[in-house]
């Protein structure tokens, strides 16, 4: 059962424009959400996270928005750069479970066109 879903498997965007990635989750117990970026032959690299007590978190070019009522979050990358071309994973966890087990989506392939 996929608890974290990422639709639109791939996205192409022009350099300098905004990239928007979407993620939906089904488990209302999730209270911490993260985005990871992955290049081929490398492990996922942490990008940005958000706690369920917030609805927005910003770090440089990356902003994550959380809509708890819709069980939806999104990642905005502005401006997009060629080095952002990678697979992006949305992940979620429940802090009260005594672990930080992450449930991942299937990922979105982003291609930034110079």
């Amino acid at each position: 059962d996929q608890q974290v879903k990422q639709n639109s498997p791939s996205l192409s965007v022009q350099e300098g424009r905004i990239s928007i990635l979407n993620c939906d989750y089904t488990n209302s117990m999730f209270d911490y959400f993260l985005w990871y970026k992955k290049y081929p032959a490398e492990g996922p690299t942490f990008l940005i996270s958000i706690s369920s007590i917030k609805d927005k978190n910003e770090d440089g070019r990356f902003t994550v928005f959380l809509n708890k009522s819709a069980k939806h979050l999104s990642l905005h990358i502005v401006p997009s750069q060629p080095g952002d071309s990678a697979v992006y994973f949305c992940a979620a966890s429940f802090g009260g479970g005594g672990n930080n087990r992450l449930a991942f989506g299937k990922g979105n392939q982003v291609v930034v066109i110079p």
Binding site: T45, F89, N100, L102
Partner: protein, 113 residues
Amino acid sequence: DAGVTQSPTHLIKTRGQHVTLRCSPISGHKSVSWYQQVLGQGPQFIFQYYEKEERGRGNFPDRFSARQFPNYSSELNVNALLLGDSALYLCASSRVVGNEKLFFGSGTQLSVL
């Protein structure tokens, strides 16, 4: 500081064999987690250990086992390998458990023939 290191980077085994994958966490990190990523999917949680105790187990058969050593490094063992075990195995570390980001290694690519 060194990141999460995993060995080996690549491995080829045949069905029925046994495999051991190794992971060293970032210095100061006491928790290690293991994930399996098959092509086209997101990583799937296998185990988490904190202070040498198992803190979580994913939906994997008993052929999968793991342990954490006093220096916080970890091993993942898979017995009686099946073709479907072919995947990228990722190790991640964190300082503590709870809502905290994980730092991932580059993984071990396991191919079962």
